[in-house]
């Protein structure tokens, strides 16, 4: 299904998506439109599909926020 990326993210709520990007705003590195190749609530399933897909693609969760009750602190000291 080819559609606006943000619409796809709203449609597949709390799922991971593998999307073939068909329109891109290169000036802002923002995928605009694409076609869903796979979707799943389980990240591992999308990871497996992504590793097999040989072309450029977007891997994204439907939302940018943590589930309720979660917080995170990421520190990486190289």
């Amino acid at each position: 299904m080819k559609a606006n990326i943000e619409q796809l993210r709203r449609r597949y709520r709390r799922e991971w998506l593998l999307i073939a990007v068909e329109q891109m705003d290169h000036a802002t590195t923002t995928p605009l439109r694409g076609r869903v190749l796979a979707h799943s609530p389980h990240r591992d399933e999308i990871d497996q599909a992504s590793m097999k897909y040989p072309k450029p693609a977007l891997v994204v969760f439907s939302e940018d926020t943590f589930p309720p009750g979660y917080a995170a602190a990421f520190v990486v000291d190289g």
């Binding site: 590195t29 977007l58 969760f61 940018d64 995170a72 990421f74 990486v76 190289g78």
Partner: protein, 130 residues
């Protein structure tokens, strides 16, 4: 100068494109000034054409489940807000499954720019360094 939206809640997330030897992946990442190195998932590294298991360099990473030695690779190109940096060192590590992002955009990318987090106007601006 490159400008993008800044959310009003949650982590600061950005679309980032990683280009490797095979192909490219766009993922959402947390912009993380507490991360010295950029972190991507093992899947992302494999998908774009690298084999983390064969990485010559490993770094110690303290995680919620203990200390891990994780692969460090050099990725051909990293692009955010249209700004490309070539030959970027990345650490391969899967964030917890509850994480809504696939990685951390760290200082080794961000230091190529003057980064302006404008919370008043909800914009993230990258100024290339002169």
């Amino acid at each position: 100068m490159a400008e993008g939206p800044l959310g009003s809640s949650g982590p600061i997330t950005v679309y980032v494109e990683f280009t490797g030897q095979r192909t490219s992946r766009i993922i959402t990442m947390a912009l993380d000034t507490g991360a010295v190195l950029t972190v991507i998932s093992i899947e992302t590294a494999v998908a774009i054409g690298y084999d983390p298991a064969k990485a010559l360099k490993r770094v110690e990473l303290v995680t919620a489940s203990g200390i891990e030695f994780v692969p460090q690779l050099t990725v051909r190109a990293v692009q955010c807000l249209g700004q490309t940096v070539r030959n970027v060192e990345v650490v391969c590590h899967d964030l917890p499954p509850q994480s809504p992002v696939k990685g951390l955009l760290g200082l080794n990318y961000l230091r190529h720019f003057n980064v302006h987090l404008n919370f008043l106007h909800h914009t993230l601006v990258l100024h290339p360094r002169p």
